[in-house]
């Protein structure tokens, strides 16, 4: 294997996050009844004419700006012609030359090494509808057509063939998804089909300049699926070449369950799409002010946010990485901090609570942090209670359980259950005296010089106080009493 190197290029389709479709006024809502979101335009009735959704153009330009693209001012569309029932016009409105964005880049980090991947273009196009061949597992002897997705806006992003391992492809897609989610320009869920990725893979002997025979892989429905498909394909190609075989330029489908790729069609059957300029949408120039305004609207992107978290809040690189890993986590974190007075003191504990307790719970119940039963404000209150010494860290964990179960306010729980930490010395002295009286054996051991026996006595005090006694005070008072 080691004598080959891998060359990978990605084509990523992301559904643009707009309320209405890109060329008509229909809703883009996911999960609507079949054909509920259709009109004369997206169902291609005679006389219907596409109209461009400005928000879709904005989303693409925003994405382009965030990825260091050159924005081409000319906005022009083309018809890409092919017959298929899910494309009602039998052509797709897309962009040929120029795309809205040319020449961008994205930095990825694999194994601690940074690599900048060049991206060729991002263009705007419309999605196809969906053909349904079975209902509830029952195969139909006809096909049903659902045009709800037809003409939903897509951004297609094409990279240069610069990725060289399945891990790099994974890192690229993860980073891309993260940035796009920060921008809010697409929801990027591969599972819902809102992000789709086609991969071009070839291998060549190390040192060879010409690219090897290119194979296109489709049908991956998760980012890890993309990684696995590439890994399989690289191995398959190397095996084929090693055994003296030749590779065909073809399109292969990833079969996730079997973990293999299968040939779908070879290049000989390649289609001539007969592109030509879309006459219904006359090309126009984006005003400079349009692009400038979008530039101003760009949110803080993950890289910058990470630096700010490290510098501003004194977080470790590890914590910062976790917090910026999705926009929703970062938002949750900053929302929590917003409720706290002493942000410096709270920054680290809030980060810890999110990355450990909350993360574990959310993972277990498969909930995104944006829908967390523990609101950012309630988490802030909890940490505030700890920092001000009202409750102990230990009690906080118990409270957190209830906060998660019932979405309740920690201050209310503490009040209702009387869980305030006892810091009143006289109260603690009383409990200590009782425990000392009740535990002659342990007291004797301590007095005989076995200092560790104090641990057991402290434990008994804590137990008696239902965990509410301030542990530092308990320690101090016990020592005073026992040594006197």
């Amino acid at each position: 294997m080691s004598k080959y190197e891998t060359v990978i290029g990605l084509e990523v389709h992301m559904q643009i996050n707009t309320k209405s479709k890109v060329f008509c006024e229909c809703s883009t809502q996911f999960g609507a009844k079949p054909n509920a979101n259709t009109c004369v335009v997206c169902a291609s009735q005679p006389g219907a004419i596409p109209i461009l959704n400005k928000k879709a153009v904005e989303a693409i330009v925003k994405t382009g700006l965030a990825l260091d693209f050159t924005i081409n001012k000319q906005c022009a569309f083309a018809r890409k012609q092919y017959f298929y029932p899910d494309v009602p016009k039998n052509y797709q409105i897309t962009q040929s030359e120029p795309p809205l964005c040319s020449k961008g880049k994205l930095a990825i980090n694999v194994g601690g090494k940074e690599k900048v991947v060049n991206i060729t273009r991002i263009h705007l196009e419309e999605d196809a509808g969906k053909l349904v061949h079975e209902i509830g597992g029952r195969k139909l002897d006809y096909s049903l057509l659902d045009l709800n997705r037809a003409s939903v806006g897509l951004m297609e992003l094409v990279t240069e063939p610069e990725l060289s391992s399945p891990g790099e492809a994974l890192a690229f897609l993860t980073e891309l998804k993260n940035i796009v989610e920060y921008l809010g320009t697409s929801e990027c869920s591969m599972e819902e089909g809102k992000m789709r990725c086609d991969v071009n893979v070839s291998i060549r002997p190390i040192g060879q300049k010409e690219l090897g025979t290119r194979v296109e892989i489709k049908n991956m429905n998760s980012i890890s699926g993309v990684r696995d498909a590439i890994a399989y394909e690289v191995e398959r190609q190397a095996e084929a070449l090693k055994s003296g075989g030749k590779l065909a330029q073809e399109t292969r489908l990833w079969e996730a369950e079997e973990g293999i790729t299968k040939s779908m069609r070879t290049k000989e059957g390649a289609l001539d799409y007969r592109y030509f300029p879309e006459p219904d949408l006359v090309p126009f120039d984006l005003p400079d002010s349009f692009i400038e305004d979008l530039k101003k609207q760009l949110p803080e992107l993950p890289k910058i946010k990470k630096e700010r978290f490290i510098k501003g809040y004194g977080l470790s690189e590890y914590d910062a990485n976790y917090l910026i890993s999705t926009r929703t986590i970062a938002n949750y974190y900053e929302d929590s901090l917003r409720f706290l007075q002493d942000k410096k003191a709270a920054a680290k504990p809030i980060a810890n609570w999110i990355s450990t307790e909350l993360n574990a719970k959310l993972n277990a119940s498969k909930i995104d942090i944006s829908e967390s039963p523990v609101s950012s404000q309630n988490l802030a209150k909890l940490v505030s209670l700890i920092l001000s010494g009202v409750i102990s860290g230990k009690i906080a964990k118990t409270i957190f359980e209830e906060m998660y179960e019932k979405s309740s306010d920690p201050e209310v729980i503490v009040k209702e259950k009387g869980l305030m930490q006892i810091s009143d010395e006289s109260a603690i002295i009383k409990i200590c005296e009782e425990v000392i009286a009740e535990s002659p054996k342990a007291v004797a051991e301590f007095k005989a010089g076995k200092e560790r026996a104090i641990g057991a006595i402290v434990g008994l005090v804590m137990k008696k106080s239902k965990g509410q006694a301030n542990p530092q005070l308990v320690n101090k008072i016990l020592l005073e009493k026992l040594k006197s």
Binding site: I51, F83, L281
Partner: protein
């Protein structure tokens, strides 16, 4: 013939609104004439007599209560069968759409409904407006009312023939390469195609999207202008429809000095084309008449006219091949019962329902867009189109309007072929997005009408109507003469 049918549409509307005339009587008069003329002319694919009379009655009753009178209240109109009217069939004269029911109103139909117009019927046309004789209709051949052995022209031949024979005062058509103005010339009526973008195309079955415009037929220029005033205007559903003020094109259309100082450009290239001798004669007479009124005649030079037929064919067919692709038998329209798999079903549905001319254009358009031909065919044609536009723009520095015969030949008999340069001066307007209007000029020795064509610069439509109206007054053409059946 019924006196009502001799009235201008404007007059009809005024009289209906004042109660002097009943809309019902206007509609009845139309259908009386239909009974005389239609058996021979066959202009209509569908007539809505009952429904029209009912609508007319409603109008009359409504007006009795003193209700507000719409711009075309109670006035009958015919609609070309490629324009969507909600709930009605729209065949585009194709077997493919034989049973298709429009799910919505075209923008022009919305406006006509608001204005109170009464749709008496749907007119015949070439299939999907592909043709210049109305012979490619899948349903029937329409005759030229002046000589029923001859073609009415096309593709809007039904609308032209319906107006020419006096069955309706005016009609809507569509014009992609002369489809309103050529049949208007052949049938002796006024035919107007607006500047590209003046009237919304929303709801007009697309032929070639970058040329298509809905336009108007009438017995006279004023009525064509009146109808245009009702249907023109910005529509967000057609992105090429440009913002413009609501203009009443019929108001102030009569300007006694309109021809004075007007510069009329005559293309130098006209002599390069074989022109019917009578057409030449009457055309030259028309020039003389305008000179007498004080117009200045200037020669203009547009060498690219010679490319018009070729570049029109390339671009139009390219757009046709994509636009007609949607007629695949999947969602609506004809579906072959003989398909054995998806591709076979596509092929058979189209093969069995589309006519020869349509197939020819699809094939040609597919060819010119093929990866191997795109540069030398489609892109080259677009470059020449720009050249033509530049030359015409240059010509307008010397003149206000470009003047030519509407057609270079008289209408042919059924089955004969028109030379392809017959209407190049009309097609140039589509290629350059310019407004053009055909005005009847004279009757020739055989009793057939011939027309002339004024082409203006982009969005000079209001001025174009004024010039056309001024010419109409001096042309000597008897607009009240009607074909006899």
């Amino acid at each position: 013939m019924n006196e009502i049918l001799k009235m201008k549409a404007k007059e009809l509307k005024t009289k209906i609104c004042s109660g002097e005339l009943k809309s019902v009587d206007a509609v009845k008069a139309c259908f009386e004439r239909v009974r005389e003329a239609e058996p021979k002319v066959k202009a209509f694919l569908k007539l809505n007599e009952e429904q029209s009379l009912k609508q007319a009655e409603d109008v009359d009753n409504k007006l009795k209560t003193g209700a507000k009178c719409g711009q075309l209240e109670g006035v009958p109109i015919a609609i070309k069968d490629n324009i969507m009217v909600k709930g009605e069939t729209m065949t585009s004269a194709s077997k493919y759409l034989e049973k298709y029911i429009s799910p919505y109103d075209a923008m022009v139909i919305e406006k006509l409904k608001d204005a109170g117009a009464i749709f008496v019927g749907r007119t015949n046309m070439d299939e999907f407006a592909m043709g210049g004789s109305t012979e490619t209709s899948a349903y029937q051949k329409t005759a030229n009312p002046w000589d029923i052995e001859r073609i009415p022209g096309g593709s809007s031949g039904g609308s032209a023939a319906a107006v020419a024979s006096g069955m309706v005062p005016f009609a809507l058509g569509s014009d992609t390469g002369g489809s309103i103005r050529q049949p208007a010339g052949f049938c002796g009526v006024v035919g107007y195609k607006p500047s590209y973008g003046l009237i919304s195309r929303y709801g007009a079955c697309a032929l070639a999207s970058s040329f298509d415009q809905i336009g108007t037929f009438a017995k006279n220029v004023t009525d064509a202008a009146l109808l245009t005033s009702v249907i023109a205007g910005k529509d967000y559903r057609d992105p090429v429809c440009e913002p413009n003020e609501r203009i009443d094109y019929a108001n102030d259309i009569d300007n006694p000095d309109a021809l004075k100082m007007l510069k009329i450009g005559i293309p130098k290239q006209q002599v390069d084309y074989k022109t019917d001798s009578e057409i030449s004669k009457y055309f030259n007479d028309a020039i003389s008449k305008m000179k007498l009124e004080g117009a200045e005649i200037v020669e203009i030079d547009v060498p690219a006219y010679k490319y018009v037929p070729a570049l029109y064919k390339v671009i139009m067919c390219a757009e046709v091949s994509a636009n007609i692709a949607t007629f695949d038998g999947i969602r609506y329209g004809y579906r072959s019962p003989n398909g054995i798999n998806l591709n076979d079903e596509y092929a058979k549905s189209r093969a069995e329902s589309l006519g020869y001319e349509v197939k020819k254009r699809i094939l040609f358009g597919t060819y010119v867009l093929g990866a191997k031909n795109y540069r030398r065919c489609y892109r080259q044609a677009q470059k020449v189109r720009t050249l033509l536009i530049n030359q015409i723009t240059e010509a307008y520095k010397k003149c206000d309007f470009i003047f030519s015969p509407a057609t270079l030949q008289m209408p042919i008999k059924f089955g004969e072929t028109l030379p392809e340069e017959c209407d190049i001066f009309l097609t140039a307007a589509n290629l350059a997005g310019l407004p053009g209007i055909t005005v009847p000029c004279s009757f020739t020795s055989t009793g057939m009408p011939m027309g002339v064509h004024f082409m203006g610069s982009r969005f000079s439509d209001a001025k174009l109507f004024i010039a056309a109206r001024a010419f109409e007054k001096i042309s000597g053409f008897d607009a009240n003469k009607r074909p006899v059946f």
